[in-house]
């Protein structure tokens, strides 16, 4: 493992916001790979998702598709331990990030979330904060006091990375809630990437947006994939086909039954010649 913990921390030495992480010479290695093994997700006694095993390759986009209620969002949230905000939620099985079990003994969920970021279905910038403060919000928690020059670099880098810099650079101190829906979602993406997580989870990020904004975000995802491992839950199969490298199909037998991962494979294969009949039925629109 290459340890470069002196030159690339925070914005201190990265003075050129146009440099991506890739260019600064950090090789993303197997460190960002996510391995899920036999994951069961429970809400108290209710088994919501059963027996998921999958590997998510680094610097790729994995899409999770399936009908409503089949557990894809629940599964996604288990990857950054966000499902635990609901009382009584727990898991069995392992989720490894770069070889480290996120559910291992002594692992702090708060620490997990700093490594695995999330963008939500509805854009949720902090309404009382300016655009600038929104982007730097996560970094402020981590690093405490920063010099303005440092935070300026981080903000610009994150906004550029989210394709939002040109549109907001003159009004960074305006409230985040004043932007359009698509811009707000890109702001949330900037906020999530500002802390430089290893993995970025996106829970139906475009479902509340208009088609033009959706396109913008999809383009953004393809750029982000160079530096992040992205997992996206989507209801929109065409979207999955457009952006993802691999696709996983979740399904549920009936209400009250747990959701299961039916099949996961390269996107082209899933949409043309999937192995399972259920997958074939879903992608051809026979149900869902």
């Amino acid at each position: 493992m290459i340890l470069n913990n002196d030159t690339t921390t925070r914005g201190a030495a990265v003075t050129d916001p146009n440099q991506t992480r890739h260019e600064t010479g950090i090789t993303a290695t197997v460190d960002h790979r996510v391995d899920v093994e036999n994951l069961n997700i429970y809400y108290s006694d209710f088994l919501a998702v059963e027996g998921v095993t999958m590997t998510i390759e680094p610097q790729s986009i994995t899409a999770l598709i399936g009908p409503s209620g089949c557990g894809k969002s629940t599964f996604l949230r288990s990857l950054n331990r966000m499902h635990e905000v609901i009382d009584g939620a727990r898991v069995e099985g392992t989720v490894r990030l770069g070889g480290h079990d996120l559910y291992g003994p002594g692992v702090d969920p708060v620490a997990v979330r700093r490594k695995v970021g999330m963008v939500f279905q509805r854009p949720n910038p902090f309404p009382t904060m300016s655009i600038y403060d929104n982007v730097i919000a996560g970094q402020r928690l981590n690093a405490g006091r920063m010099r303005k020059s440092e935070s300026d670099v981080i903000v610009e880098r994150a906004l550029r990375g989210a394709n939002l810099w040109e549109e907001v650079k003159d009004r960074l101190d305006k409230p985040g809630s004043g932007l359009s829906g698509g811009q707000q979602q890109r702001l949330c993406i900037a906020r999530a990437t500002a802390v430089e997580p290893d993995v970025l989870l996106m829970d139906e990020p475009c479902s509340a947006l208009d088609p033009i904004s959706t396109l913008a975000i999809e383009q953004l995802m393809l750029e982000l994939k160079e530096n992040y491992t992205i997992v996206i839950v989507t209801h929109n199969m065409q979207q999955a086909a457009r952006v993802s490298d691999r696709t996983g199909f979740f399904n549920i037998e009936g209400t009250g039954k747990p959701g299961r991962l039916i099949e996961i494979d390269d996107t082209t294969k899933i949409f043309s010649t999937p192995a399972e009949q259920a997958t074939q039925d879903y992608v051809t629109g026979r149900f869902g």
Partner: protein, 369 residues
């Protein structure tokens, strides 16, 4: 681990790179820190003099705060330390606030139960000379029957005014009013919520000077005073309940050709009735303990007065007040009666409160909110 993760400035450079697994203060350790704080406080107390439990607790709290912050800083990290400190402060605040509440209940129950007997419930303060003599010897005489009747009558009058007035105002604001009048009314209801209770009493007194002349205290004046305090509460809660009724219900009724007033009476009100009843109960609970306005408007009498239009009428809170500040001879007699009356008041309020909650849950129509 990926070196592009931001390093946190307060961690040693050569430390374990796996930042996911962090040392945490275990539950056992936490309990021992709490115990240690208490013991330290105990020790300090013992050294300085005698051990008063109040002081032990007061000292243990800051000791714990410091201890947990230091421990978290050493074992966990700065952010966890802050989080634990805040949790400690918030929890301690809650416990601190519970203390007077528990103390009030405890005191009222323990002091008041002694005198909550039959004589108290059936007698008045019109005492014969023999009774006064026996009181000096320690007998328990006198009661609050007249006060209970007074409270019943006065609160009944207040409700009789406030409920229809408040309900119809709420109906106007929700079902009819748009424009200046409605805005003015809603602002004035807000103003009414803020009227100090003694001011309401003074108003009622001043109002009834016209009818009964200066210096008069009557039950009806007390009722009017309380209604001024009760009406805004009824308006606000009824308004909220009426707003919760979905518009689709009203439209369905209009579409059937039902006139507006009948829609309100037969569709809207029954749907909202649970909440409205709850609001009324809470409004009654709020005014039933009011002393100041009744002191001023209804006064104190020694005997039962069933006529709200003639003469002073005692109410429970006023009775409580006077029994405490003018207890007579011996003072314990009056003080005991005051506590008993206070206990009655607390019981009544608690019952009303619980009733309101039960009503809200039981009568709530399914599918609403």
């Amino acid at each position: 681990m990926s070196a592009t993760m931001t390093t946190r400035p307060d961690r040693n450079p050569g430390a374990d790179v796996d930042e996911l697994v962090r040392p945490r203060i275990s539950r056992a350790l936490h309990t021992s820190i709490i115990t240690a704080s208490v013991l330290v406080a105990l020790a300090v107390n013992a050294l300085l003099g005698d051990v008063k439990w109040g002081w032990v607790v007061m000292l243990a709290a800051p000791v714990y705060l410091v201890a947990i912050r230091v421990a978290a800083r050493l074992i966990e990290d700065r952010r966890q330390a802050t989080d634990r400190t805040v949790t400690a402060i918030v929890t301690m605040s809650f416990l601190l606030v519970m203390m007077p509440l528990i103390s009030v209940f405890w005191t009222v129950i323990s002091e008041g139960a002694a005198r909550l007997d039959g004589t108290f419930l059936s007698g008045t303060m019109r005492l014969t000379p023999e009774e006064l003599m026996s009181q000096r010897d320690g007998a328990a005489v006198g009661g609050a029957y007249h006060a209970m009747m007074g409270t019943l009558i006065i609160t009944g009058l207040a409700a009789a005014i406030a409920v229809p007035l408040g309900l119809f105002t709420a109906i106007y604001l929700v079902e009819y009013g748009r424009g200046k009048l409605a805005r003015a009314i809603t602002t004035m209801v807000d103003v009414m919520t803020g009227i100090p209770s003694i001011v309401a009493g003074l108003f009622a007194y001043a109002l009834f000077i016209i009818v009964f002349g200066p210096g008069s205290r009557t039950g009806v004046a007390g009722g009017v005073a309380l209604s001024v305090l009760m009406t805004p509460v009824v308006v606000r809660s009824a308004e909220e309940m009426l707003k919760l009724v979905p518009n689709e219900l009203r439209e369905a009724s209009y579409a059937l050709g039902v006139p507006k007033w009948k829609t309100i009476v037969k569709v809207v009100l029954p749907t909202a009735i649970a909440g409205i009843l709850t609001g009324i109960t809470l409004a009654i609970a709020r005014v039933i303990g009011e002393t100041a306005p009744l002191l001023v408007a209804a006064g104190l009498a020694q005997d039962t007065n069933y006529n709200p239009f003639d003469g002073r009428m005692t109410s429970l809170p006023v009775f409580t007040y006077y029994q405490y500040v003018q207890p007579g001879v011996p003072t314990e007699a009056g003080v005991q009666r005051a506590w008993a009356a206070a206990l009655m008041l607390v019981i009544i309020v608690a019952v009303l409160f619980t009733l309101a909650r039960v009503l809200a849950r039981v009568l709530r129509p399914k599918g609403l909110q």
